[in-house]
């Protein structure tokens, strides 16, 4: 197989090939190009439940559904670009919207699930951050029989589950002089941690509220979920929005208007609800 063929297979979706279209991959395209192409290419994280993940072979999730609705409102089709998370979101912005990964595959028109914060935006001038749609925070899900109070400082002598390499992981390993270190149990995903909570392997799970609520589903009535703060570790809540390349502001304005309308008419809250997650609206300042 020649390199050219291999690159095409890497880069283009089967649908694009079937349609006989050879899409341009040079850069994120402003609004006119998206409209002319009739398709919006959206970057979502790989394996990031409940926002973007595979269920029975189909890509689903809050971000996936929201992106589809955005494309519908723009009057174009949708194509997803699944993104493997890098060391930091700055790497992800480079790979997803303004440069592309050095392995190839091109860039997307917009990226979902990008932190929306002024300081972070200033440090990433190659991208435009816009349209925050969720306020995230950390939460504790507990077995109320074993852990009577939803407070980290009052964690009893019981094992607590976290997602490996997550912020709660780092926090609990170091918190209170390392007092909890030997009781932190690591899981590859939060659904696995929640399964361990149900089986009694751990007495609590610490993760983002979206992760833990979605993983619990109906079981939330047995395992109450409470927001928690991590003392000494910056703010415990932040906002999630979208990003485009800095040359695509017109696309950002159009998509921003759509997101505002979707927030207004309750569509966003509905999508979150569909995955068992509370939608936390961002207060207007």
């Amino acid at each position: 197989m020649t390199d050219l063929t291999r690159r095409q297979l890497l880069s283009f979706s089967a649908a694009a090939l079937a349609a006989g279209a050879i899409p341009r991959r040079a850069g994120a395209r402003p609004l006119d190009d998206v409209t002319a192409a009739g398709r919006l290419r959206v970057a979502v994280y790989r394996d990031n439940p409940p926002f973007s993940f595979h269920r029975d072979g189909t890509l689903v999730g809050v971000d996936v559904d929201l992106a589809r609705t955005i494309a519908e409102r723009l009057g174009v089709g949708i194509e997803y670009m699944e993104l493997t998370a890098g060391e930091t979101v700055a790497d992800d912005l480079r790979n997803a919207v303004w440069k592309g990964h050095y392995l190839g595959g091109g860039v997307a028109d917009i990226m979902m699930h990008v932190p929306y914060e002024k300081e972070f935006g200033l440090r990433n001038p190659e991208a435009v951050l816009f349209a925050p749609y969720q306020r995230e925070h950390f939460a504790l899900a507990r077995n109320p029989m074993r852990m009577t109070q939803p407070m980290l400082a009052a964690l009893p002598d019981e094992p607590v589950g976290v997602e490996i390499d997550s912020i709660p992981d780092f926090f609990l390993l170091g918190a209170f002089g390392g007092r909890l270190r030997d009781r932190v149990v690591h899981y590859m995903t939060i659904p696995l941690a929640v399964a361990a909570l149900e089986k009694g392997e751990v007495a609590a799970v610490v993760a983002t509220q979206s992760q833990v609520e979605a993983a619990l589903g109906e079981r939330v009535k047995n395992f109450p979920v409470t927001p928690v703060t991590f003392p000494g570790m910056m703010t415990s809540s932040w906002d999630i929005g979208l990003a485009v390349k800095d040359n695509s502001r017109d696309l950002a304005y159009a998509v921003g208007d759509i997101v505002a309308a979707l927030l207004e008419d309750g569509t966003v809250a509905g999508v979150f609800g569909k995955y068992g997650v509370t939608h936390n609206a961002i207060p207007t300042e």
Partner: protein
């Protein structure tokens, strides 16, 4: 034709007074079947081929050839150059393999080529089909192939091991060695010992434990695995064998299950002690304050029995690594001639900046000395205890405890005083030739950073050169004393392997594009040739039709342009490439 060619080689080897071993004869008879295990064991001595990564399983990268000398090297001329083709280039870090008139060389993006050694004519090419979603940490490099009997082998970026027929390039078997979707990758050259193909693992952002694994070279079936982190269980013939170390002896809680220690650079083998030597990577998580203890056996060298995967000894170069130093660098076996004795020793130039000489029969430290000018993390290595004397105040702080905005300077930088690029040892000069880099890093706590859409306090790094006029330094080190005998300074960081010969020469490449030759005793530069792109591969030499050949791949890339901070800016104008250059000293 093949037989005639071989006969010529043997005749010239005899003429050169190198002796004719029975092992050499078996190579001649076995050209069609490919190299035997004995041929691999004899690779350091045989001059008509290059059968192993390291030019011998001990990885001395020393050739007994002596036609090329500081005097004759000016006659070394290019014979042909072979382009890797394709529209993607990036880093070419391979060492060629030469067997029976064919050069087997790997290229970026998991490609393998068989090329006629005389003419540069391509015989076949294998392009591995890479899936979407691979995330190699440090460029799309590959460090070389292995050859055994009728097959050539190489590892791919999607963490597979592929065996191909050496004559046709057709896939014989292809085995998954790790899950690329979990972030694993494979770039090292495989090692073949007693019919087993032995590999490490690489990549894995998290959830990874390093391992060394042995497979049947014929079938690819797994024989044994040896995890590198204490508390994890090894396997032998499909059953649990023994636990690595002791559970929770140097790790808290369940952190050993995800403790790091990846063996991404592969290993070496010493036929005299019958031990494999594998270096292990840094522990996880990065913040050392979260994992008190030595975190065995990360940032270490492990001696492993190739028969069953049992650990014979370990030596940890950076206990409780908090700098991302790794301990993956190769251990090179050699005879240390000291105080009238010959000690079976091994040397390792560690990323942490110290050059270690160990007794390779038991892992005891004999000597450790700095091979770069600035080391901030430790004062010295205590020769009695074998442990570093830390400079505690220079350990990077815990992000949540540290003063906001405070920046700490640490040297060496996390790319290491020496990174992946292999050194060479000459039994003729009794010197090691180490490709080093003089750089440090600023580490600071970022006010806020994000990972996969979640916020946290992170650390930022940027690599900085220590000096204005050079970063790279090729250094000749006397293993008896640790003294630096000579050095060659290079403006850009050195990122290629080293070769030395009985003809009193040392070869290495530079990112500026040159393959250079130095007088092995004095360090005087005696020859150079610009290959058109940066040289970050490992050169080899062999004899063919009575003439001495040298080959090296050219193609700038690797981790420096991706992770090099300020240094990346210095080298951003170097053009990429992808080619194999072959040189020879024509008959007078």
């Amino acid at each position: 034709m093949k037989r005639l060619f071989r006969t010529c080689l043997l005749a010239s080897a005899m003429a050169a007074g190198l002796g004719l071993s029975t092992l050499g004869l078996s190579t001649a008879a076995g050209a069609a079947e490919g190299p035997s295990n004995d041929d691999l064991l004899n690779d350091a001595k045989s001059t008509g081929d290059v059968l192993t990564y390291g030019m011998g399983l001990q990885a001395q990268r020393f050739s007994p050839l002596d036609k090329l000398t500081p005097d004759t090297v000016k006659g070394l001329i290019p014979v042909w150059s072979f382009s890797f083709g394709g529209e993607k280039q990036r880093g070419q870090e391979a060492q060629p393999i030469v067997h029976d008139g064919t050069i087997y060389v790997t290229g970026s993006y998991s490609r393998l080529y068989a090329v006629d050694a005389k003419t540069g004519q391509k015989k076949w090419q294998y392009d591995h089909r890479l899936p979407e979603g691979i995330m190699p940490c440090c460029d799309v490099v590959n460090r070389g192939a292995a050859i055994y009997k009728d097959k050539v082998y190489f590892a791919t970026l999607d963490a597979r091991l592929v065996a191909l027929n050496k004559d046709t390039g057709k896939v014989v078997w292809s085995k998954k060695i790790a899950d690329y979707q979990a972030g694993f990758s494979a770039t090292a050259a495989p090692l073949i010992v007693d019919g087993k193909i032995i590999t490490g693992n690489s990549g894995g952002e998290f959830g990874v434990v390093g391992a060394v694994e042995a497979r049947d070279a014929e079938t690819g079936e797994l024989i044994w695995t040896r995890p590198t982190v204490e508390g994890n269980m090894g396997t032998l013939n499909g059953k649990e064998s023994t636990m690595t170390g002791k559970l929770n002896a140097s790790w808290s809680g369940d952190l050993y299950k995800t403790g790091g220690g990846a063996t991404w650079l592969g290993g070496t083998y010493d036929p005299e002690t019958k031990m494999l030597f594998f270096g292990t990577g840094n522990p996880a998580p990065w913040n050392s304050h979260l994992r008190p203890g030595d975190n065995l056996y990360t940032s270490s060298t492990l001696a492993i029995d190739p028969a069953n995967g049992e650990i014979k000894w370990h030596y940890q170069t950076t206990p409780h690594d908090g700098w991302d130093f790794d301990g993956v660098n190769e251990l090179v076996s050699f005879d240390l001639k000291k105080d009238g004795q010959v000690i079976k020793a091994g040397a390792k130039a560690d990323r942490n900046g110290f050059f270690y000489v160990l007794d390779r029969t038991n892992g005891k430290l004999i000597n450790a000395s700095p091979f770069v000018t600035k080391i901030t993390w430790a004062k010295e290595i205590d020769l009695k205890t074998g442990r570093p004397v830390y400079v505690d105040e220079n350990r990077p702080g815990a992000p949540e405890a540290a003063e906001k905005g405070k920046s700490v300077f640490a040297a060496p930088a996390f790319l290491g005083a020496k990174n992946w690029m292999p050194m060479a040892y000459s039994p003729a000069t009794d010197l090691f030739y180490v490709p080093a880099n003089e750089w440090g890093m600023d580490i600071w706590n970022e006010p806020i950073t994000y990972k996969k859409g979640a916020a946290y306090l992170g650390a930022g790094f940027t690599i900085k050169p220590l000096y204005n006029d050079y970063i790279g330094a090729l250094r000749a080190i006397d293993p008896k004393t640790g003294k630096i005998v000579w050095e060659y300074k290079n403006p850009a960081p050195l990122w290629g392997g080293v070769l030395t010969t009985a003809g009193n020469l040392v070869f290495t490449g530079t990112p500026e594009g040159y393959l250079k030759a130095f007088d092995a005793k004095s360090g005087k530069e005696v020859w150079h040739f610009n290959t058109g792109s940066g040289v970050v591969g490992s050169p080899v030499t062999w004899e063919q039709d009575g003439e001495q050949y040298v080959a090296v791949v050219s193609g700038w890339g690797g981790a420096v342009p991706l992770w090099g901070g300020d240094v990346a800016k210095l080298v951003k104008d170097i053009n990429q490439g992808g080619s194999l250059w072959v040189f020879k000293l024509p008959k007078a």
